[in-house]
Symmetry: C2
Subunit: 317 residues, 2 copies
Amino acid sequence: IVSANMPVYIIEDKKFGMRAFGNYNEGIGKVLRYGAYDKEVLSRLKWMRDELYPTMKAALDEARKDKGGINFKAIIQQALHMGDECHNRYVAATSKFMNEIAPYLVKADVSKDAFNRVWDFMKNNNFFTLNIGMASAKAMTLAAHNIKYSTIVTVLTRNGTDAGIWVSGLGNRWFTAPSPVPKGVFFPGFTQDDANPDLGDSSITETAGFGGFAMAAAPAVVSWVGGSVEFAVENTKNMYNITYAKHKYFTIPYLSFQGTPTGVDIRLVLKTGITPTINTGIAHKKAGVGQVGAGIVKFPFELFKDAFKAYVETYGA
Amino acid sequence: IVSANMPVYIIEDKKFGMRAFGNYNEGIGKVLRYGAYDKEVLSRLKWMRDELYPTMKAALDEARKDKGGINFKAIIQQALHMGDECHNRYVAATSKFMNEIAPYLVKADVSKDAFNRVWDFMKNNNFFTLNIGMASAKAMTLAAHNIKYSTIVTVLTRNGTDAGIWVSGLGNRWFTAPSPVPKGVFFPGFTQDDANPDLGDSSITETAGFGGFAMAAAPAVVSWVGGSVEFAVENTKNMYNITYAKHKYFTIPYLSFQGTPTGVDIRLVLKTGITPTINTGIAHKKAGVGQVGAGIVKFPFELFKDAFKAYVETYGA
């Protein structure tokens, strides 16, 4: 949910001229993006609009003047060497972003009180840069979209009832199937029975070749999303079977600095029967409760079958 | 080399009342601690004394007033989950330290120019917190020293000609042997032929259970010190054979969150023939050149044999 009153980041892909947008991350638990909307949620959102945004804007304006903005792709690249997979673990990316932004906050002459509140908010929210990462992933995948004949998946997403994909060569046509329920780790007081079918835009990170696809880079993420370290490594290895390329810049030290598996190819999904596995936050199935855990989810095979059928109809067998 | 004109950090172990000290890290390459002492080195040291130190002191004083100081043990703990092993990789620890210190720099009202120069220095020196980590390791190992009957090694060090150890139950008696020459990766223009025998205090980190002993936590460190990722993991596994405990707080995600191998026991070294393997910076054998690379080194077996002999003489077989 992004309303007209919500500030957004602007992410630019300077090479291909693409632009994507991300709102500010609220944190975990009782947050709007997982369906919570009580007073606590609204007052946080108001603070984010009234103090966080103007403070960050002042700093980001300084960064833009100084060096054209913050290079978040470089931050993702480093974070993958620092135990983040950059979907459900943004500990290193957020820390590095804070290192980048601090001198611009100082340069922008924000008040000490504003500095302290904004700094504490970032420090206590390891997911602060998730939304920048998501918008970065969107800007990256946009460049691969609408390429004639391309069988690469450029959107992987879920809305709480359906999971859907776009395929580059098939334009903006949706292929959808019921959204699976994530299996995962729950916050205190919640169980698997509380989980809603998977939802959110965040799997754009896996679309771009990180997140669940880079779990081998982030063994500590299993304490958040569940599974074992072996599973995390296996998942990354598995994704090489259905992706077109190894990322040139995003590499995984534990796999001897191989690039992350990037660009799901519907032909490879059809051939292997393997579908994209992402990691995800889990919303409560009752509206108003918010995020209750985090886990793992596999995209349904039929999406890719339907897309392949449409591809054959469009381009011939 | 620490002279009377050099500022130091004070690290306190609040549980056991131990105190240790570390000077400020100069960076890599042409630096005093690797034997370089030309104008560039001296002018950097002067800046460190005249601006870096007063700026940091002002901020650290604020941190002490606010919460008793910066908890660097917690930073090491997090950094081990962020791809640092905390001897030759301090990327995450330095980033986290910067996150901690920023609000205190702001609170201390340091000038914008001082903030910028200090911030840039930290940002461009991933080893900035190495010396804090070394002093932390010293404070930790001091608590284990001078325990009657203890066979635990509490000092592992090298001075460029000799490698030496202390054993807890044998007090401050040195056991020494010629220092080995590290094998490693060299900065452009230098080769293995330029390497001096190993030197420095930094192997106090391995003594305390991190650094080379935690290499499995830091696959990216191999691009700095050489070897393969498999070697890094094997080295940590190997160190379990000669250490008394798995660390309670320092854990390694890739080894399913096992504690790091901690506390070299001379009895286990004698029994297995395995000696501590550390990672290290490499100095040029010619004085004045400075650091020319980084690598791996094994402590000589005879140190432990001599210490064991002395132990038997002291306490009986």
